[in-house]
Amino acid sequence: MAKRAAPEVNAGSMADIAFLLLIFFLVTTTIEVDSGITSKLPPEQTDVTPPEVKKKNVFQVIVNSDNQLLVQEDVMDIKDLSLAAQDFLDNGGGTEPGNACSYCQGDRDPLSSDNPKKAVISLFNDRLATYDMYATVMNELVKAYNVLRDREAQSRYGEAYTSMVRRVADWPKEEREQPEYFELQDKIAKIADLYPRNLSEGEPVKN
C-alpha cells in the first residue's frame, strides 16, 4: 500500500501569530531619540559675587521674543553666528605674558577677547522665544567650541576632539580600567582646558 503523503501544514495561522506579535510591538515601543547637546548648568549662586569681566571678553548673544538674533548689539543672521563666535574665542588679543594666547590663530584684535580661557559667551533668551531657535543657537555656539577644539586636538594629537569624545563614550565598560582609557580622558581634559566652555545664560551683562 503506498504511503499517504503527509498533509501540508496550513501556513495561514502562522501569519496570524506573526501579525499579532507585530501589532503588539508597534503599539508598545517607540524609536527612542538618545542623543543631544550636553551642557553643565552653573551651580546655584550663593553669596559669591561674580568675578569682574572686561567688556571685551564678553560675547553677548540675545534672542528676542520674535526669534531674532542680536549679537554684540547688532542684528545678525543665524548662519553667521558660529563663525563670529569662533573669531571671538580664537582672537587672542592679550599681550601681557599672563594673558597672551600662544595657540590662537585669530586676528589678535585688541578690542576682542584676550584669550579663550577668559572669553565668556553670554546668552540671553526672551521667555517667548521658541525652543527651535534656542536649540539652533546652542548648536551653533557649541559648534564654535568644537571646531576650535578639533583643530587643536588634530594639531597636537592627530585626532579630532569630537572623535576622542565619541571613543570615550563607546569604550566597552569592562575595559575602562586600561591606561589607554585614562590617557584618552586626559587628552580630552587638556584640550577642553584650552577652550573652556564659558557659556553663561541669564541676564545680559551690562557694563
Binding site: A11, I31, D34, T38, P43, K79, D132, A135, T136, K143
Partner: protein, 161 residues
C-alpha cells in the same frame, strides 16, 4: 485504459502562502531590534529639534527624563494651550521638578548618583520661559548635568518649520 490519462483541465495551482509569515517575521524582528519599550505615555507634543553637535546619551539608568511641550488635544481642555512640563507620566507645575529630580536621584545606586543626567525633551515650538524655570529648579537641586535632547540633522532646518 491507456497509460496516458487525460490531465485535468487548466487549473492554475494555488499560490503558496508559506512565505507570508516570513515577511511578517522580518518586520517583527526589525521592530524588536530598533525600538525600545515606551517608558512614559506622552501627554505633550514632543517634536524634538535637529542638531549636529550632539553626543550619545549615557546609560539609561543614569537618566531622568523631563518632557516639555504643549499638551496634546486630549489634555488641552484641562491644561490649556501653553507649554507645560511632564514629569514621569503626569503634567506638573514647575515647582515639582525639584522633588521629582531628588526622588529619582535617591532611587539610583549610590555610586552613580553624582553622574545623573537630566534629559530635557522639549518640543520645538515650546517657549523658552518654561525651560528657564525648569533649569532654575535643576540648579537648586544640584542636578547640573543636562542634555538638550535633539535628533541628528541640520539645525538650520529647525527654523523653517
Amino acid at each position: 485504459m491507456s497509460k496516458f490519462s487525460k490531465k485535468k483541465g487548466g487549473e492554475v495551482p494555488a499560490i503558496s502562502t508559506a512565505s507570508l509569515p516570513d515577511i511578517v517575521f522580518m518586520l517583527l524582528f526589525f521592530f524588536m531590534v530598533a525600538t525600545v519599550m515606551r517608558e512614559d505615555e506622552l501627554s505633550v507634543e514632543n517634536t524634538l529639534p535637529l542638531a549636529n553637535q550632539i553626543e550619545k546619551l549615557e546609560d539609561k539608568n543614569m537618566l531622568v527624563y523631563i518632557y516639555i511641550g504643549q499638551p496634546t488635544a486630549a489634555y488641552q481642555k484641562q491644561f490649556g494651550e501653553n507649554a507645560v512640563i511632564q514629569l514621569g507620566d503626569k503634567i506638573s507645575p514647575a515647582d515639582r521638578v525639584f522633588d521629582y529630580v531628588n526622588t529619582k536621584r535617591n532611587a539610583m545606586a549610590e555610586n552613580i548618583q553624582n553622574q545623573m543626567m537630566v534629559s530635557l525633551k522639549v518640543d520645538g515650538e515650546a517657549t523658552v520661559g518654561v525651560l528657564t524655570d525648569v533649569k532654575e529648579q535643576l540648579r537648586r537641586a544640584n542636578a547640573l548635568k543636562v542634555n538638550y535632547t535633539a535628533r541628528k540633522g541640520d539645525p538650520m532646518m529647525n527654523l523653517n518649520r
